[in-house]
């Protein structure tokens, strides 16, 4: 991201919705850390006759969007854009379709209602249909950096100026077969495998002092340890490149793969108590990683301060974002609190 960018993404509202079991049993708005009174049924999200056309991931995303305040005020979203971060789309629906094909007498005898859900972009496509979002709609796959990539692209969309509102999503369903395999391969307990959808509603702004948390800059790339470049250097260089001196950094949120753990000592020395290391379960949550970190900064960076979030995977693929804090608007930093539906 070039440093001459003055366009930024102000966080209007955000929701992280976790759904551990069957839909009607309810979910949790993660940022409140509460188990809500769940009175939302799948039938409220889509007409009953159309339910067969949705899979769990799409319903989860629609449920999360139903909690975003600015999406539900009757305002036209025709000029909004959607950027979906995902590791592998609705992979469980793909697995189901392959099984049906393998097990049927004829290999084409698969459930036609679920066919549209087998493409990686299915959930954000369903979201666009439900809410009439007619701007650019893209699905980005970059493992743990997916949400970072969504922010990079969101800033580019904002700079282009043909959308005023951007919904960035991240979504993973860990309860299915793929999630189980993934969790097993990383030694995660079943209780930690919770299907989660995150949505951040951004409004584009040209004033970095816009109230509320503001994503000012974001970059992704790859760091080669052999080059001698350190994560700490990268963070400081990035901040300095955006005109932020180290003493203005109020919080540094990092998520690092095991092979980069040694870097945490250096970071601890450089940033002290400002350093917040994402817990392992969340660090293994694929596209949700960046969303967890942005949620953390949105709640913790004080007015006038700046937070940095960074993620580095085993191979050095990284993402870094700069998030400014300023006077918070009602409903902006604390995420959705739609008590009529949840909590």
């Amino acid at each position: 991201m070039s440093n001459d960018a003055i366009v930024a993404l102000a966080v209007n509202d955000w929701v992280m919705l976790r759904m551990p079991g069957a839909f009607e049993q309810g979910g949790t708005e993660l940022h409140h850390g509460l188990t809500p009174r769940w009175d939302l049924t799948a039938g409220e999200l889509v007409p009953s006759r159309e339910l067969k056309n949705f899979d769990r991931q799409s319903l989860l995303l629609l449920a999360a969007m139903s909690l975003i305040e600015d999406a539900n005020q009757g305002e036209s979203l025709a000029r909004a854009a959607v950027i979906g971060g995902t590791s592998n789309g609705s992979i469980d629906t793909v697995i189901q379709l392959i099984k049906e094909s393998n097990e049927s007498r004829f290999a084409f005898q698969v459930n036609p209602a679920q066919i549209p859900n087998t493409v990686i972009n299915s959930s954000v496509g369903q979201l666009a249909i439900k809410y009439g979002i007619k701007g650019a709609n893209v699905s980005l796959c970059a493992k743990e950096l997916s949400f970072y990539s969504a922010m990079v692209q969101g800033l580019r969309f904002a700079r282009r100026g043909d959308c005023e509102r951007i919904y960035a999503t991240a979504m993973e369903t860990f309860s299915g077969e793929f999630g189980t395999l993934y969790a097993d391969s990383h030694g995660l307990d079943a209780a930690e495998r919770i299907d989660t959808a995150a949505i951040f509603s951004f409004r584009t702004c040209s004033d970095p002092q816009t109230p509320g948390p503001v994503v000012r800059s974001c970059v992704t790339g790859r760091l080669f340890p052999a080059s001698g470049a350190s994560l700490g250097d990268l963070l400081l260089t990035f901040a300095a490149g955006n005109g932020v001196e180290p003493d203005r950094l109020g919080r540094v949120s990092v998520s690092v793969a095991d092979s980069w753990r040694a870097a945490l000592d250096d970071l601890g020395q450089a940033f002290g108590e400002k350093l917040a290391v994402l817990q392992r379960t969340k660090a293994l949550s694929l596209s949700l990683v960046g969303a967890y970190q942005l949620a953390d900064l949105a709640q913790s960076v004080k007015a006038g301060d700046v937070g940095v979030m960074a993620c580095v995977d085993e191979e050095g693929f990284y993402g870094i974002a700069l998030v400014g804090g300023s006077e918070v608007q009602a409903g902006a930093a604390k995420g959705s609190s739609d008590s009529g539906k949840v909590g």
């Binding site: 070039s2 960018a5 056309n53 025709a78 959607v82 590791s87 592998n88 789309g89 793909v94 379709l97 392959i98 099984k99 094909s101 393998n102 049927s104 007498r105 004829f106 290999a107 084409f108 005898q109 698969v110 036609p112 066919i115 549209p116 087998t118 493409v119 990686i120 972009n121 299915s122 496509g125 666009a128 249909i129 979002i133 007619k134 701007g135 709609n137 893209v138 699905s139 980005l140 796959c141 970059a142 493992k143 997916s146 990539s149 692209q153 580019r156 282009r160 077969e177 395999l181 993934y182 097993d184 391969s185 970059v219 992704t220 790339g221 790859r222 760091l223 080669f224 191979e315 693929f317």
Partner: protein
């Protein structure tokens, strides 16, 4: 007729097609000019329990086209296609790998189904309860397609796989264009890849939108899609960089647009497609009358071709530019398709218009100039590359000869 007034100019300097009708620019262009029909009985999936048997497949051993293949032997076929396409595109651009290693070269590849053969293998292993079934789990992520490309060139830039289904490689090109314009990189490798895949075949088969043999876009009585595979890659770079290194410039990216039908998951909305085309032309600062060719999405389904025609008519009135669908020759390679369309556009800008083959009786309800008599010699100056997808995702690019 350029985008110089909009900031950094972005140009195409390398082409890497890995297609069923030809691997490499020369073979691909030759096939397009001679109207090769790539339809074959499929060998890469077992069609015994399908009623349909035909598709298009990349011929030969892909390993021959991938530098340091052993390092990527465990990757999926789509990654192999992307790697092969990247190698060809870089060679065509005259760029040595050593010259870009450690540089910020952004890699964007589109796909519909990701590392599909590995996912298929994983499901088979699940059914057989094979121990160690998740040994290659990490390889099944769609991100690995673009990351393998980044790994292969030692890039320090972005690596993002774009899962926008059949418009994904146009979206990848748009990402590259925007990244260069933003000053985030000077060079980007953009394209798409997908492999012939049982799930794809079952999907179109089940939807009743698959042809029995030949793909016949714009023809009366057309029957549908012919599934295909391949990898497409284009090198994009800033105009200044291309000039500095004396590169051959195929075209300038004049503009683009992306939108979403927000209407139906699989049914094309011609109003929305028309809006997208108008927005792309406006973004490119190009009046409709100057467009010399449209590389159609042209899947060969009754509904797609009809809706695409209505969209074209809405933008260009009753005298639209010539249109063709290269899917008539090479089938629908899903996430790679728009990249092949973009490469075909380079042929249109330099030599002439690729044909739509298999048109025996043009649909009277689509009264446009479909290039169906064979290759139409004579270059044009401005072209449009259309791409639409499940989910209502439309991505359209405008290319032009350098002025």
């Amino acid at each position: 007729m350029n985008s110089s007034g909009k900031g950094t100019r972005v140009v195409v300097t390398g082409l890497g097609p890995v297609s069923p009708i030809g691997i490499g620019k020369e073979a691909f262009f030759h096939a397009l000019k001679t109207g090769v029909n790539g339809t074959v009985p499929l060998s890469k999936i077992d069609t015994q329990r399908f009623e349909r048997k035909y598709g298009c497949e990349v011929k030969g051993t892909i390993a021959e086209w991938v530098a340091d293949f052993d390092a990527f032997a465990e990757s999926g076929t789509p990654s192999h296609f992307a790697l092969a396409a990247t190698g060809l595109a870089l060679a065509d651009a005259g760029i040595e790998r050593a010259a870009i290693a450690g540089k910020r070269v952004n890699c964007y590849f589109g796909t519909t189904y990701g590392e599909s053969n590995l996912i298929d293998d994983m499901v088979t292993a699940m059914a057989q309860s094979q121990p160690g079934r998740h040994a290659s789990l990490g390889r099944t992520f769609a991100s690995e397609i673009s990351r393998d490309v980044a790994r292969s060139i030692g890039s320090t830039g972005e690596a993002v796989t774009i899962g926008n289904a059949c418009s994904a490689s146009n979206a990848a090109l748009i990402f590259g264009y925007e990244a260069i314009q933003a000053g985030d990189c000077e060079l980007a490798i953009c394209g798409g890849s997908d492999a012939v895949y049982k799930a794809t075949f079952a999907t179109f088969h089940r939807l009743g939108s698959m042809t029995d043999k030949d793909c016949t876009p714009f023809n009366a009585g057309r029957k549908g899609v012919l599934t295909s595979e391949g990898g497409s890659a284009l090198v994009l770079e800033s105009y200044e960089r291309a000039i500095r290194r004396g590169a051959h410039i195929y075209a300038e990216v004049l503009g683009f647009a992306m939108n979403c039908d927000a209407d139906h998951m699989v049914r094309l909305n011609h109003h929305s497609v028309g809006d997208c085309m108008k927005a792309a032309l406006a973004n490119a600062c190009v009046p409709p009358g100057t467009v010399g060719y449209i590389c159609a999405h042209g899947t060969g389904t009754a509904a797609n071709d009809s809706n695409e025609y209505k969209a074209i008519e809405a933008v260009f009135g009753h005298s639209p530019p010539p249109v063709s669908s290269i899917k008539s020759m090479m089938g629908h390679s899903m996430g790679a398709a728009a990249g092949f369309g973009a490469i075909a556009c380079m042929l249109a800008l330099s030599e002439g218009l690729p044909p739509t083959i298999n048109v025996s009786e043009q649909d009277p309800e689509i009264p446009i100039d479909v290039v169906c008599e064979g290759f139409r010699a004579g270059k044009v100056d401005v072209v449009i590359n259309n791409a639409f997808a499940f989910g209502g995702n439309n991505s359209i690019l405008v290319f032009g000869n350098l002025k």
